[in-house]
Amino acid sequence: MFGLLLITSTGVGWLTALCVLLIIAEIGGIAFLGYKIAHFGKEVSAAVIGKWDLSAGDEGFDAEKAKKIERTKRIVKDVFVYLFLTVCAVLAFLPFYWMLMSSVKTEMEFRESVPTFFPHTFQWKNYWMIFHQVTGTRGGASFGQILINTLVVGFLSTFLGLVVIVVTAYALARMDFKGKNLLFAVMLATMMIPGELFTVTNYITVAKAGMTNSYAVLILPFLVSVYYIYLLRNNFMQIPNSLYQAAKVDGLSDMGYLIKVMIPLTAPTLISITLLKFIGTWNSYIWPRLVNAQSWQLITNWVTGGFVDRLQPTSPWGENWTIYGGNYGNSETLDTLKMAAVCMVSLPLLILFIFCRKYIMRGVSKSGTKG
């Protein structure tokens, strides 16, 4: 019902479809709860009537009665559990809903003293505004430029990082060389040290090496992830040694064994690592802001620029701020635009999550690291 209204009032748009997708799960939960409550009412009345009936009979243990009480108890418990879960789920989901809805409201509507749960008018222009923030403090970087930056850095750091991780983990798991265990112990020890301790020096290092304002500076320092090496090494070690010997007898080289046997066997872990690494790039904010000028920064930096600065897009088509109407102070940021920006960084992650839920959840529960 809700969904239909949504589609008819705005026409089919990609965001609409996504909203529907996300809300359906929520509505499903609420509907189920409604069903449960209705069912509960029936059960309770039945139980109460049953009690009356029974009170007329003699006292003492009655299996039928005990069963009924047991059942009522269970239903009460179930309702509480579902109620609790639903309230928590709604609260957990509320920020997303609010973000989506606010991003397409007009600034006027957003600022009404009684907030609307669902927008009266959809102002897709908010997104258009975000796409075209180009001047002033944005350092001349266009959205296209930033998107290219993010994709190039994301792809390269994920791909190269995987190569380094796989090769290192392979050597540590499979090969025998002097000082291997010592090396591994030292690598693990560095995991104890907070990464921020490195940042100070790394900033100076890259600045002195003249590497600022480049892709390399965003890729190289984070290529080696000791935790993923550790994870993959353990994965590799679980592969029985006889498979390696079988491959040797079957005429496979070490490299061939790595590519044809070990990588396919550890594919789930590798996919998880790939996804988490890419998400890491997508979310990275502090380091790019530190080392690169705005035209070399990544999507999160660019989009969140709208949080602090007053957006001043100059439209190639002569658009201007009049669509926002009202009388806002010059230093104020517009929350609707802010929410549109937030949606732009968050929605791709949500979509990725919907499609790769299995791998991400597996990877997270295994690694316990974020990004």
Partner: protein, 357 residues
């Protein structure tokens, strides 16, 4: 292909200072004629698997030589020897289908697709798994996995087929069946086959030649029946046969063999302390017999019955005699007397444990 093993030795160096290096295989010499099925038999840790891995090229020997048909392959890498190896746990690649598993060695040899497919199918037919080609290993039973592993070893038409404890992961019924299967496959292909086992029954039932090993040293080589009938030392006699051989402490004195106070046989050997081995089937019930045993209980097995008894000179808790079920034993007898079949009686030196002939 003929295999000849000459002075083969494998020493695993000690990991820590002060520890002894492990001599897994010591000065092994075997000639294996072409097309035979050879069993390496011994208790765990006797070096039989190490020998197999040295034959396959996965382990390199510390010294000695391995010749395939007069050609020295000692330093040749595993993939160049043309051996097929079946692992104890089969080592099938879990991410590949049965067909991909079987074709895997061929792909590495860069054999053309059509030919590879044909050969894979042939190998599958040989072990009767052609219906399972599109399954993954974890969808197969233990016996089927075993067949896939054999097919993968056979598909490259190896000079030598090596099997590492091929039956140990199967249940009892399948083991019997697979045992015959291995024999059949070996006969049809005529490939020289070496397999490793700790189960003497398994080895005896299918081997052409059996090699008994202990602590890295070869004890005896020969046809299974030969070794059973003519063991060269106490270890071999003890290791072969179910139920196992009965061992008594005894002595030779004045040309007679004594167990306890009873003289059970005559011998031309000099006086000394000995171990006397008597196979369970070597006893004949006879009231006039030479050896007296205190009966504990009698187990009736149908075809024959076994008298479980005790004797103070026995090195084992009980003495077991297998006799024909037709033989009528006196009921509730506390002691029985037996005659001994001379060819089931073996004498061993008490110190060296070597056979005395």
């Amino acid at each position: 292909m003929k295999i000849s093993i000459q002075h083969l030795t494998k020493i695993f160096p000690s990991r820590n200072k002060g520890e002894q290096a492990v001599h897994a295989v010591e000065d092994m010499n075997i000639e294996i004629p072409s097309g035979k099925l050879v069993g390496l038999l011994g208790p765990s840790g006797c070096g039989k698997s190490t020998t197999l891995f040295m034959l396959s090229g996965l382990e390199s020997p510390s010294s000695g030589k391995i010749l395939f048909d007069e050609q020295d392959v000692t330093t040749l890498a595993a993939e160049k020897r043309g051996v097929g190896l079946v692992f104890q746990n089969y080592a099938l690649y879990p991410h590949m289908t049965v067909e991909q598993n079987i074709r895997f060695p061929l792909d590495n040899m860069r054999i053309k697709r059509e030919e590879g497919n044909a050969r894979a199918l042939d190998a599958a037919r040989l072990v009767q798994i052609e219906d399972l080609m599109s399954r993954k290993p974890n969808e197969l039973s233990g016996g089927q996995q075993q067949r896939v592993a054999i097919a993968r070893a056979l598909v490259k038409m190896p000079n030598v087929l090596l099997l590492d404890e091929p039956l140990s992961n199967l249940d009892a019924r399948l083991r019997l069946q697979t045992r015959e299967e291995i024999k059949r496959i070996q006969r049809t292909t005529g490939i020289t086959t070496v397999f490793v086992t700790h189960d003497q029954e398994e080895a005896m039932s299918i081997c052409d030649i059996m090699v008994v090993m202990k602590l890295g040293i070869v004890q005896q080589i020969g046809a299974p029946q030969e070794i059973y009938d003519d063991p060269s030392n106490l270890f071999v006699a003890n290791f072969l046969g179910t139920p196992p051989i009965n061992i008594f402490k005894g002595k030779i004195s004045g040309g007679k063999v004594y167990i306890g106070g009873e003289a059970i046989a005559e011998t031309p050997l000099e006086d000394r302390a000995i171990f006397v081995g008597i196979r369970p089937e070597g006893f004949i019930y006879d009231p006039e017999g030479v050896l007296t045993l205190k009966v504990d209980h009698i187990e009736v097995m149908g075809r024959d019955k076994s008298v479980v008894s005790v004797h103070e000179s026995s090195t084992k808790p009980t003495v077991r005699c297998i006799i024909d079920s037709d033989v009528i034993l006196p009921p509730d007898a506390a002691e029985l007397k037996f005659k001994i079949k001379p060819y089931k009686l073996f004498l061993f030196d008490a110190e060296t444990e070597e056979r005395l002939r």
